[in-house]
């Protein structure tokens, strides 16, 4: 093959990373279901000020622990706050933090993993040892300790999650780059005289990024679990802000009389995770058709 043909091959391969056809997207049932569920939840979160019938933090001490009724569809909690309104506003807090928390580790992990995989050498060796060390700390243990160190609150949650989960992205992207850099299109691009940086960003990048994006979907689920768990333990978003985990914690006290208080926020978490998992499964089918099992 002459050099121009090789370059053409390289270009074609780069395009191939884009979705084949739109049809493949909407014919994928998991993907469609995931988009609908996640879309609906995001809509609820965005429209919380309109949808929520009451102020989520307003107390009504004369009407505490009310059973579900027409005025309060899901009843009220121990401070007389409307449970439905807290659930709706909670979507805003939990989803926002869940989505935002993914971004920092995604970027850091992808860059570090790509550089390590592409250039190899001592940087790669050291990185893999660091990855081994980080993997020794269970996710929750590390997040809880870091939130303790930096103090509770949204900012600490971002730092803690970033510190723990960049490792997974680095490991995934490094593995993908190790495979990709052996491929003909990369060799062709290098022979064509393109710089390492350009090959890494324009040629390898688009082809390895899909794995990181697919992982990000399950990572958002993990992050939402972490936020909810921290909230439950009393280490997350400070009260009285509505947050699903702290709502479950509030409800556990009254589980014998008001079972729905602890149950329903958990169900909402299950629905949100289900939507994100379906979205991730669907994306992995569409982005990696050759890997489908």
């Amino acid at each position: 093959m002459s050099t121009p043909t090789l370059l053409l091959a390289a270009r074609r391969q780069r395009r191939a990373a884009a979705p084949r056809t739109l049809k493949a997207w909407y014919q994928n049932r998991a993907l469609v279901a995931g988009i609908i569920i996640v879309g609906a939840l995001v809509l609820v979160a965005v429209l919380a000020p309109v949808l929520a019938p009451y102020d989520p933090v307003e107390q009504d001490l004369l009407n505490t622990l009310a059973d579900p009724s027409a005025a309060h569809l899901l009843g009220t909690d121990k401070y007389g706050r409307d449970v439905l309104s807290r659930l709706i506003w909670g979507a805003q807090v939990d989803l926002r933090i869940g989505f935002l928390a993914v971004l920092i580790p995604f970027v850091i992990g992808t860059v570090v993993g790509a550089v390590a995989g592409y250039f190899g050498g001592w940087f790669d060796t050291i990185l893999m040892r660091i990855v081994d060390v980080f993997f020794a700390f269970p996710f929750y243990v590390m997040v809880i300790v870091l939130v303790f160190i930096f103090g509770s609150g949204e900012f600490s949650i971002y730092i803690a999650i970033a510190a723990v989960s960049w490792v997974s992205y680095a490991k995934i992207v490094r593995g993908e780059v190790l495979v990709a850099k052996q491929q003909d299109y990369v060799v062709a691009a290098r022979l064509g005289g393109l710089s390492h940086g350009r090959v890494l960003v324009r040629h390898i990048g688009p082809n390895v990024l899909s794995q990181a994006i697919i992982y990000a979907m399950s990572d958002i689920v993990m992050d939402i679990m972490a936020i909810v768990t921290l909230g439950y333990l009393g280490l997350g978003i400070a009260p009285p802000t509505a947050e699903w985990g702290s709502m479950i914690n509030d409800g556990q006290e009254f589980i014998t009389t008001q079972w729905q208080q602890a149950t329903i926020p958990g169900l909402v978490v299950v629905v949100a995770s289900l939507g994100l998992s379906l979205l991730g499964d669907g994306l992995s089918d569409v982005l990696n058709p050759e890997r489908r099992k």
Partner: protein
Amino acid sequence: MLHRLRFIPARLIQSIPVAFGVTLIVFFMAHLLPGNAALALLGQRATAESVAALTTQLGLDRPLPEQYLIFLAQLFQGNLGTSLTYQVPVSDLLVQAVPVTLALLLYALILSLFISIPLAALAAFRPGGSRDLGVRGFTLVGQGMPQFWVGIMLLLIFAVRFRLFPVGGYGTTQLDHLYFLFLPALTLAISMSPTIIRSLRSSMINVLESEYVGTAKSKGSYGISLFRGHVLRNAAIPTVSVIGVNLGFLVGGSLVIERVFALPGLGSLMINSIFSRDFPTVQGVTLFVALFVVVIGILTDVVYTMLDPRVDMSKAVRA
């Protein structure tokens, strides 16, 4: 059999840098505390003397490398410092809490196999069938359930509604422990099983398509005996490493679950210490848990080798 375990010494040596890395991270945690660590830890209890005393106790007045060497030297003597709350060695607290958490983990692992193996088999025997779809639905939903919430739901059903199990605590006798730990262990098993089922299901499908299963079938083997004799052991091999990796996750989950069921294990110790700002204890639990995960990694490799005669770990270790 034994000669295949020759890789163990090399594998142990390979884990040493990781173990040192773990101690380094745990050591630096104290230095991540904003401002003066001693002041931050004492909070409202702080007086000039108590800050000075704690600074000396934590060794914060020495240069960093020296602090780390002291930390390591003490660690090798089993000294993890003194709990600020209980004024006893942290190692004493660990000795009390570790058996509870270990029992919970082992119990959960056994229960999760009881859940996963039948469900994976049910799904794998006819992929794409209605049972398969049902099992896959369970794994999808199961992955999305917060562990502590599963615990609360089990409490709601089995302890509050039907009064079959206690709402919390650990009991006093061995038999008590089995009974008291059942719901917490089941909680962990439920949250662990989706991952195991997914892995077992896909490896069972591979095994069922293999020629040796075809041969066994043509010789008249079917049902349970086919499954036990030919499918399970071969399908279990990849799953062992999946379980090994996820045990770390299980350890983290068990800490949270102990909170739900008021079990006096590592998790309760850690969370209580966090609320009382007892940093040496938090550090001790974190260190123990991380080193425990490193050990699990080694054990996973051992089990893997024992199950699969084709695996030669001595090569993997040398590489």
